[in-house]
């Protein structure tokens, strides 16, 4: 029992931390950076505890006599949890300067982030559809609130409204899907659903398939796949930088956690049913996302558009899973890690710049950035190269695994299209590099500020390079191989 409680601790600590922060935020004496430290403290404890549970779970379910089979414990969930907490820690620390520069930030910001992380952790552990829904809503509602955090800003409020209305509506789809599945199976437990799916033939499961297609719509909405993408660019644009960073890097990963679990474990035997639908969505997502990203003049909106394209790459691998590719599931995990590192870094630099000025960052505003801030420009280039999938960065290996898995499953045209969109993405990412380097600046060079946020950005950049070229020759340090090993470990714990 005590051991079980210990296993529940990582999640519990985060939610306790969230309540503590809510209480603390009422005090006017405690300054924001103190609250930040408290929030990071709770997250770090949770991170460390999860790190030690990795690979040695004593039970299959969390507190089985209390929650029944609602929460599953496996390495898959733990690795995702690690990514969520890491993402939140990075969001909080990198944006340390940003929220000090904006008046509208107050204590709830930290509590909301922690609640959202709690929701995501619950999501990755959830083994029951209603729990999934609750977790999804906990995470989403916190994010809705965060998106509209700048209350007096019209764009921010508009973004929040757009996201909330559309998000709630797709939440309804999820509930409807759950109801239909319950009607078919007689239970909402994922374990029961999996047994039902494997013991029936596909012709007898019409209701379940309709239900799970509804669930898929929710997932597609959350990852921003075309035709459910209309919110992405506006919401990413409207939200304050820290929130955009949190959404793009961390929240998106959370959705893939549940999508992978449902797709691989529960609908494992029938997931080829969705192949055609997924392929069409993938093609639309890749092309539509590229089109959106090309047309933007704001860097933030470009990154939003390109995040749709990245969802498209991940969808390629998801349909490869349905076609029986062994590589695809680890490829998704790896790609998520790669995308996480690169987008955290890119948004980190954007928010660092934003903390120094109130300008909207157009491409033109980056003219001469390299001569003003040479080191920042180098790191931004690294992040852009990694997002574009340029070799010698981790982003290339991510794409490498995705495309080989697509070829392995016979989706050669889709792999070709993926490579084509990767080529298109070179245009809009290199445009930023070009802006930074090709124009001289009349302002003098600034010193590189050494503080926690910039140091973390440097660490991200180094990790990206190391993840791309790190050899397996140096003992004890996982190289480029290490990340995929982690991904494989996670996937193998699922089955």
């Amino acid at each position: 029992m005590i051991e079980q409680l210990l296993l529940a601790m990582p999640m519990a600590i985060v939610v306790i931390g969230a309540f503590v922060l809510m209480l603390l935020s009422h005090s006017r004496r405690i300054k924001l950076d103190r609250l930040n430290i408290v929030a990071v403290f709770f997250l770090i404890i949770s991170f460390i505890m999860q790190y030690y549970t990795l690979g040695n779970h004593t039970g299959t379910f969390l507190l089985e006599n209390v929650f029944n089979e609602s929460f599953i414990l496996d390495d898959f969930a733990t690795i995702f949890d690690l990514m969520f907490t890491a993402g939140a820690i990075l969001t909080l620390l990198i944006n340390n300067d940003y929220f000090k520069s904006r008046q509208y930030f107050s204590g709830e910001y930290f509590a909301l982030i922690l609640f959202s992380v709690f929701g995501m952790m619950m999501l990755s552990h959830a083994n029951e559809l209603v729990t999934v829904f609750i977790a999804l809503e906990i995470a989403s509602i916190s994010v809705y609130a965060l998106v509209g955090y700048h209350k007096n800003n019209k764009i921010s409020s508009e973004a929040m409204m757009k996201y909330m209305v559309l998000g709630s509506m797709t939440g309804v789809f999820f509930m409807l899907g759950t109801a239909l599945i319950y009607g078919a199976v007689g239970s909402t437990s994922l374990t029961q659903i999996a047994t039902y799916v494997s013991s029936n033939s596909i012709e007898d499961m019409t209701m379940l398939i309709v239900g799970s297609t509804f669930i898929m719509i929710t997932i597609m909405f959350k990852i921003g796949a075309v035709p459910f993408h209309s919110w992405v660019v506006d919401v990413y644009h409207g939200a304050p930088y820290p929130i955009t960073m949190f959404m793009a890097s961390t929240f998106k990963i959370a959705i893939f956690a549940i999508a992978l679990r449902l797709f691989i474990v529960n609908f494992g035997s029938i997931n080829s049913f969705w192949t055609e639908i997924l392929q069409v969505i993938t093609i639309l997502t890749l092309l539509g996302g590229s089109w959106l990203a090309i047309r933007q003049t704001l860097v933030k909106r470009m990154l939003a558009g390109s995040s749709i394209v990245h969802s498209g790459y991940l969808l390629i691998a998801i349909s490869s899973i349905g076609l029986g590719s062994e590589l695809a599931a680890p490829a998704i995990m790896f790609y998520l890690i790669a995308y996480f590192l690169s987008s955290v870094g890119a948004f980190g630099i954007l928010s660092f710049i934003a903390s120094q000025s109130t300008k909207q960052m157009h491409y033109e505003d980056f003219k001469g950035f390299a001569s003003r801030r040479p080191y920042m420009a180098i790191m931004m280039s690294i992040f852009m190269l990694s997002l574009a999938g340029f070799p010698s960065t981790i982003g290339f290996l991510g794409k490498f695994y995705i495309f080989t898995s697509a070829i392995e499953s016979g989706q050669i045209l889709l792999a070709g299209l993926g490579i084509l969109t990767a080529f298109i993405s070179v245009y809009y990412y290199f445009k930023l590099i070009a802006m930074m380097y090709f124009y001289e600046s009349d302002k003098p060079q600034k010193k590189f500020p050494f503080d926690i946020s910039t140091i973390l950005i440097v660490v991200m950049a180094l990790l990206i390079i190391w993840g791309g070229i790190g050899t397996s020759l140096i003992p004890f340090i996982p190289g480029a191989d290490g990340f995929i090993e982690i991904a494989k470990q996670a996937i193998s714990s699922l089955k």
Partner: protein, 492 residues
């Protein structure tokens, strides 16, 4: 030491750049460091060449696991083909650094060092993913150098060259991934090593598509006619060191790629593509020559001239007989040296007269004799002046062309003539004619002569003692050719 030597050659400049960058070296130290790295690699390549065995194929192999899960390894080695280009790269770097002596923008020097690592790595890697890595990486310094230090519409042109080249390399990436997958399917293991993939047998249709992926990348890099729209603008906008690297090394890497990966992996399919490419190169020969005749900007003119000669080299490669092959490989080397010389001269022209337009130049000969001598020498060696290496190489290719087909031979021989036309006409208009007395004509300084003299000597040496240089590759080249002939069931 000898097993590590290739790694040292590849990474020495990069390491130097990183170290200098971390310590934020002042420009003086940076220059010395760059020069040192180029000379040190030259010495290492000298040692390598001394120990090189001309009777065996790939040697000095280093094969280390890199990403075991996907079978990607750090697999490098050198054979006659890569040795030639390696020699070129390392011997061209010191003159370039001498040329850049007064350059005080730090980014310039860092980019050159990165560039050296990129091109060297691409030449030496025998693992396809590793090759792809270097192939893409060498583009970055070029991108920055054209975009940041170029002239004219340099930002636009830099984006253009990068996008077009990456389009090619993406198609190559697709082929590489598919090759790896086929290997996985047949053996159950992942591998991207050239020696492993060589053992594969594909069906004809697959092979044709895969080859197309590779060929597109190489055709854009060379560039064959039809894929060349990036060339003249990029050459026109790029700063001189970047132009030299592009024309002398990077374009040759396209040929190298065809040789190494085309003939290494898809012998039979290449002969399927050969007629198309031969036609393209023949069109290229004439088209580029005509463009060169009408071009007023010297950089662009020699860009077209370079395109014309690279078409000739590509033609030689696809003719697959011993004369043509030997000539092509020899031309890779001599054309690289000659074009380095001429592009450096154009750079010097720009430094002096702030223009590279033929119409605004003239009368240099009466004021600056040494300058005129070197300029004329390099220009004529581009045109294939007897006594320089280019002549020997072109002659061999033309003999090879006649051996393959009378009409191809005739057409090829005309290029030598057309080259004469634009070179002589250019010399007449730039070097002779009425001198503009408003401009100060300064002759070559000692530093500039030191920079140009080795190139001149090399060109003469390759022209006068070709057999000495050909010994490096002859045996192995003919061996490869025979293997190829056996593979396609050809003549011998």
């Amino acid at each position: 030491m000898m097993s590590q030597i290739l790694t040292n050659i590849i990474f020495l400049p990069l390491l130097m750049a990183v170290v200098l960058g971390i310590f934020r070296a002042p420009i003086r130290v940076l220059k010395i460091g760059a020069m040192f790295s180029s000379i040190a690699t030259l010495v290492l390549v000298g040692i390598l060449t001394y120990n090189f065995d001309t009777t065996i194929g790939i040697q000095f192999v280093q094969d280390l696991p890199w990403i075991k899960n996907a079978g990607i390894s750090y697999y490098i080695g050198v054979d006659y083909l890569s040795l030639i280009i390696l020699l070129l790269i390392t011997s061209l770097m010191p003159p370039l650094y001498i040329y850049m002596f007064h350059e005080n923008r730090k980014g310039y020097w860092y980019n050159m060092m990165l560039l050296q690592t990129g091109v060297t790595g691409a030449v030496l890697s025998l693992d396809l993913i590793l090759f792809y890595l270097f192939w893409e990486t060498m583009l970055l310094p070029i991108f920055v150098m054209i975009g940041k230090y170029g002239n004219g519409m340099h930002q636009y042109n830099s984006m253009k060259i990068v996008l077009m080249t990456i389009l090619g390399s993406m198609s190559m990436l697709f082929s590489i991934l598919y090759l790896g997958y086929i290997y996985f399917e047949t053996t159950g293991m992942w591998s991207f090593a050239l020696t492993d993939l060589d053992t594969l047998v594909f069906n004809a249709q697959t092979s044709i598509w895969l080859t197309a992926g590779f060929l597109l990348a190489f055709a854009i890099k060379i560039p064959l006619v039809g894929f060349h729209t990036w060339m003249a603008p990029a050459y026109g906008s790029a700063p001189t060191p970047a132009v030299v690297i592009m024309s002398a090394i990077m374009a040759k890497l396209g040929i190298y790629g065809i040789w190494r990966f085309g003939y290494g992996l898809f012998e039979t399919t290449l002969s399927y593509y050969a007629p198309t490419i031969i036609v393209l190169t023949l069109i290229g020969l004439l088209y580029y020559a005509v463009r060169a005749i009408t071009e007023d900007n010297l950089r662009k003119m020699f860009a077209y001239s370079s395109g014309s000669h690279l078409s000739l080299i590509a033609l030689g490669v696809f003719l697959t007989n011993e004369y043509a092959w030997s000539g092509s490989l020899y031309f890779i080397a001599t054309h690289a040296i000659a074009s380095t010389g001429i592009f450096l001269m154009i750079g010097l022209t720009y430094k002096r007269f702030k223009t590279v337009n033929i119409s605004s130049l003239g009368g240099i000969a009466s004021k600056a004799p040494k300058f005129t001598f070197f300029f004329a020498f390099f220009a004529l060696s581009i045109a294939g002046l007897p006594g320089t290496g280019g002549f020997v190489a072109e002659l061999l290719i033309i003999i090879g062309a006649f051996k393959a087909n009378l009409w191809i031979g005739v057409l090829t021989a005309t290029t030598m003539l057309s080259a004469m036309i634009y070179i002589f006409w250019m010399i007449q208009r730039t070097l002779f004619g009425q001198a503009n007395n408003d401009i100060e004509y300064s002759d070559l300084s000692v530093r500039e002569i030191v920079m140009l003299l080795p190139l001149l000597i090399l060109l003469l040496a390759t022209g006068i003692f070709p057999s000495f240089f050909m010994k490096i590759y002859e045996t192995q080249l003919y061996f490869t050719l025979q293997e190829f002939m056996l593979a396609i069931g050809g003549l011998k």
